[in-house]
Amino acid sequence: MHAAHQDGSDPGSRDGPPGDPLIRSGQPGTPQASSPGSAGAASDKADGTGEPRPEGRRSVFEPADIGRALTRIAHEILERTNGAGDVVLLGIPTRGVPLAHRLAVRIEQVEGHPVPAGSLDITMYRDDLRLRPARALGHTAVPAAGIDGRIVVLVDDVLYSGRTVRAALDALGDIGRPRAVQLAVLVDRGHRELPVRPDYVGKNLPTSQREVVRVLLTEVDGEDAVLLSDSPGVPGIPGGGRAGR
């Protein structure tokens, strides 16, 4: 069961252009920009089960894998925080938000008490704002109880450069003072540019910087998938293929 907890505010509806998640997963531009033939040559052998997709993207994490990984992370959070009594889950838009809500549902199923989940938009705290035209803001919804003195678990889909997490830490500091901040990600694709380390990882995915990792979630995209494709950075945009994470 995918516990497809539908967030009433539909995190996707308020977000930027459809290309945004792609850009933040590492590649500014459309997936069609990749040369079709090169995808098969991707050196990544982490997951041999990947089925080819028409756009030259390979699925590297099946829907059932995503569900299992989230269940495991939920249990890890419970272990590490002694029952998640004072945990607040904050998803980073767009796709961190449904992940945070899914984790909250799973924790409640195990422990029997609800865990507050919300969203934290980090757009205004990004360090690459001046590289491209102003972006639309995501939605921030901090649970009513606030974050002061609590353990905040930041939730995101892909961990890449670590810059998003750096921005999220700054954003948190303006909202309150958590007792501790932890990080949960569905996919850690490596290539950190900042000293950031996740506490909970769904899947470690060795990638090259040329590749693009894209997470799809039912709540936003209509299906659950993690896709990997090979694509050169788009020339002319500073930061090339690593604008976001």
Binding site: Y125, L129, R130, P133, A134, R135, I175, G176
Partner: protein, 307 residues
């Protein structure tokens, strides 16, 4: 979006909705212990005010400061303008100081447009003569959407001194872009000659317009711009076009009363109406900061090379 914000008519529906959605998010900042975002750190915003203003100047200043921009306030009084410096020379000075955005209010219609041709930064029109005041229209639309939940199909009545009102012109342009139905009501002498070409209805009868309106926006009678007698007496104006408690009673249950300020209590709006629960006048001021933050963010927050 354009690099400048000169006229509400320059905004497409998508632009306008982007500003309103952004303002919705930024409004949350006001409820936080730290009401500040680091987004415009290192950017300079110049408030260039050639005309008196309280709320607009303070609002822009608060908006820029909440985004961590450096703010330079410039008012014509006590500056070289009093010594006869021209707008262009003033603009050159600002340019030399490296202003990333200039917020200008001027008594001459078209001054922001001229300024936009002289400076490299973004120009935001904070009111030019009787021409336009786009951020006021944006905050009015923002307030309507917050109170009533929508803008499309909303029936908005704008009452009073339309002739001298930059607020009315900007509101008509913006609200029609956003799908609201605007009716202008006022004495014929206070409606512009070309009003027939505006995307709105015109009426001279306030009592007929009130029962089917969702929003009533009262305009200030701008005595300082009146160089002739536009109506026989203030008392007669107030009788026919002022909003008092009896007239407010004719409004539908959900309707709201707006006023861009400053109010002439007892002329266009009665004190009991201004202080009633339907009145959004104080809310409009608070919303002004959020909307201006959104405008400054969208103009200055991204890359510079987008002209």
């Amino acid at each position: 979006m354009n690099r400048h914000l000169i006229s509400a008519g320059d905004l497409s529906k998508d632009d306008a909705l982007l500003i309103l959605d952004t303002a919705d998010e930024l409004a949350q900042t006001a409820a936080r212990p730290i009401k500040k975002l680091p987004t415009l750190r290192g950017r300079t915003v110049v408030n260039l005010f050639f005309e008196d203003s309280t709320r607009t100047r303070i609002s822009f200043e608060a908006a820029a400061k909440r985004l961590s921009a450096d703010v330079i306030n410039f008012s014509a009084k006590g500056s070289s303008v009093a010594k006869g410096e021209s707008l262009k020379d003033t603009a050159m000075t600002l340019e030399a100081m490296g202003a990333d955005a200039v917020v200008i209010r001027h008594s001459a219609s078209g001054a922001p447009h001229r300024l936009a041709g002289w400076v490299r930064g973004s120009v935001v029109n904070a009111g030019d003569g009787s021409h336009e005041h786009p951020t006021q229209a944006l905050l009015d639309a923002f307030t309507m959407r917050r109170r009533l939940g929508r803008l499309g199909g909303l029936r908005v009545v704008i009452v009073g001194d339309v002739l001298h009102s930059r607020v009315a012109r900007s509101n008509v342009l913006l609200l029609s872009t956003l799908g609201a139905e605007v009716t202008l009501v006022g004495p014929p002498t206070l409606l512009p000659v070309a009003v027939g070409a505006w995307p709105c209805e015109v009426s001279y009868d306030l009592d007929a317009a009130l029962p089917k309106s969702d929003v009533v926006m009262m305009l200030r009678v701008q005595q300082e711009r009146m160089n002739a007698a536009y109506f026989p007496s203030v008392r007669e104006y107030s009788r026919r076009y002022g909003l008092d408690a009896a007239r407010m009673g004719m409004l539908p249950e959900h309707a709201i009363v707006m006023h861009p300020g400053p109010m002439n209590r007892g002329v266009e709006i009665a004190a009991e109406v201004a202080d009633s629960a339907r009145s959004t006048i104080v809310e409009q001021v608070a919303n002004g900061v959020s909307v201006r933050m959104a405008v400054l963010y969208l103009l200055l927050g991204g890359s510079e090379a987008q002209s």
